[in-house]
Amino acid sequence: MKILVPVKRVIDYNVKPRVKADGSGVDLANVKMSMNPFDEIAVEEAIRIKEAGNAEEIVAVSVGPAKAQETLRTALAMGADRAILVESDEDLEPLAVAKILKAIVEEEQPGLVLLGKQSISDDSNQTGQMLAALLDRPQGTFANTITLEGDSITVKREIDGGLETVKLTLPAIVTTDLRLNEPRYASLPNIMKAKKKPLDTKSPADFGVDTAPRLKTLKVSEPPVRQAGEKVEDVDALVAKIKALGIA
């Protein structure tokens, strides 16, 4: 079986993002970027499946700027076998990315597509679902645990209030949640080996996909600053305060 793992280059999870002065988006100038943490979990899971002898090849794919090569190199250093970069400097929406991925799936014919449930950049949580719909294939989102058995895959999904277990027939789309695994660090010897692994570069035009935006961002703003509370002397004062504020 072949596994396709789409990965996205996003602002590093340790960085505190800042909104541009004109409110048009998040300021990415001189900001550290790295692989979307949920995608990292997807790469790790694919490697574990391969290590268990249930997959032969892992193909990492990224849709993004030339710099997304670094993200793909990380995936290769972790253990993916080859990579495809679909280079685009536009800020592509999930639908456009899903359409490109659909074209790659048709070309590569993977038994499983494993990807993060969302990227921490825009938190859309749409690409995996849209891809499944476009391909008309089963989807298991927010995976907490996955088990492969013959031509099916069992996914325990994280849902409000517990776990839901679904069984999908392969080929399928699975999106990863935080608790699926703890990704490994790429070791120095593997980073050196990754440099020699193949990385193909393509463009959205190669797939004949319409990537025109459907959405328009009106304004991006910082979350409101939390106001400090107020200390009261005793219960009576508290009750009076609550009444005055009209909460109770």
Partner: protein, 389 residues
């Protein structure tokens, strides 16, 4: 020296930074409690390739140049010093000795094993001798095809963990010119006759261990003689010690950054007179001085290592960097304790440990006073030669 691919190096540093922050720092408490790095962390460090930074690629290493190696040590040294210490003898002294003086067979045998993380130690110092080789007591006497080693070594870093010892011993009773009475031997530490004493108790640097090595009629084959030639031991030892200065300077700069970050966090959280103490200008002065000094040490490291890689004279910049960075780290640790106030004196806070850990940096790989002598000697020589220091 060109070193490894720059992109590959940057990618590694990024992974290492994460590894240091997410794994090594959280494990510090366990390392201190056990006074040793837990085996699972050690295995991870081996897998990460941390023992192979300086070995050539054809011997299973990464083939880093000095700039890359020293920058890696700086990043690693943000965590507890024991993590650098366990790798330092492999990467520094023993690797250098093998690369410069080893026979092809010795390189092929040992470099890949060292790169994979078999731990090495370096036996020069004795109870009665250090850099004065004439007083060395450990002997190696010809015995059939090999040698028989007798004597003891003192303060040997990593001896309790080591699989390989590079041991200096005299092959001539009489002192010979240019220290040619000393030879170097690659000794399997599990050989009959090799025993390691109890680890010495130290002021700080928990998790890293030093101990005596006793050699009692240890027989080694002829091919254990480094370079296959007698009389090269001391020259090899001195060459190998040279490049340790930049490693200690990098350890100082990396740890100083950690110490300052900790002081910054405390000065933000701790309140006095109704506001964080970082709002008080006398605290700010200590923080600002520390920042400026760490930056200076970082710049010195970049410049000195670039000179080494360019093949330019590096004795003066390397000794100056070691002197400044190690003393600087102690000043920053001292301020960190001061900023913590009473809490800085308590073992519950890290400031106290930083203070004890830093203390060794102005001592080993040449004390600050030896650095001053090395620097002054080079200055005087240069001045006499061309009228410029």
């Amino acid at each position: 020296m060109s070193g490894m691919d720059a992109e590959v190096f940057d990618q590694f540093i990024e992974q290492l930074w994460r590894y240091v922050h997410e794994r090594l720092i959280p494990a510090e408490k366990d390392v201190i409690a056990a006074n040793a790095i837990p085996e699972d962390i050690l295995d991870e460090m081996r897998e990460m390739g941390l023992f192979g930074l300086t070995m050539p690629e054809e011997y299973g290493g990464a083939g880093m140049n000095t700039s890359q190696y020293v920058e890696t040590i700086r990043v690693l040294s943000y965590a507890l010093p024991a993590y650098r210490s366990i790798t330092s003898i492999n990467l520094g002294m023993v690797c250098t000795a093998l690369k410069k003086s080893g026979t092809e067979a010795q390189k092929a045998e040992w470099l890949p094993r060292l790169a994979a993380g078999e731990i090495a130690c370096f036996g020069l110092t004795e109870p009665g001798s250090g850099s004065d080789s004439a007083a060395m007591q450990t002997t190696a006497v010809k015995d059939g095809n090999g040698y028989r080693l007798n004597g003891s070594k003192r303060y040997i870093t990593n001896a309790p963990f080591a699989k390989l010892g590079l041991i200096m011993a005299r092959t001539s009773k009489e002192p010979l010119p240019k220290n040619a009475h000393v030879s170097a031997f690659l000794v399997d530490m599990e050989k009959a006759g090799v025993t390691v004493g109890k680890p010495d108790k130290k002021m700080g640097q928990e998790g890293s261990q030093i101990a005596d090595i006793y050699l009692d009629d240890v027989h080694v084959d002829g091919d254990a003689l480094l370079g296959g030639e007698e009389g090269q031991g001391f020259r090899t030892a001195m060459m190998s010690l040279d490049n340790g200065r930049l490693s200690v300077a990098a350890a100082s700069a990396g740890y100083a950054r950690r110490i300052l970050d900790t002081a910054m966090r405390y000065a933000q959280d701790r309140k006095a007179f109704g506001e964080p103490i970082n709002q008080f200008q006398l605290i700010q002065a200590m923080l600002a001085d520390s920042e400026a000094e760490i930056y200076a040490a970082e710049c010195m490291l970049k410049d000195a290592t670039a000179k080494v890689d360019a093949g330019e004279p590096s004795l003066l910049p390397a000794a100056s960097t070691k002197l400044f960075a190690s003393e600087m780290c102690n000043r920053v640790a001292n301020r960190c304790v001061q900023i913590h106030g009473g809490a800085g004196y308590l073992a519950e806070y890290e400031a106290e440990r930083f203070y004890r850990d830093s203390r060794i940096y102005t001592i080993y790989e040449g004390t600050s006073q030896i650095m001053q002598l090395v620097i002054a000697k080079a200055m005087l020589r240069n001045f006499a030669a061309g009228g410029q220091a």
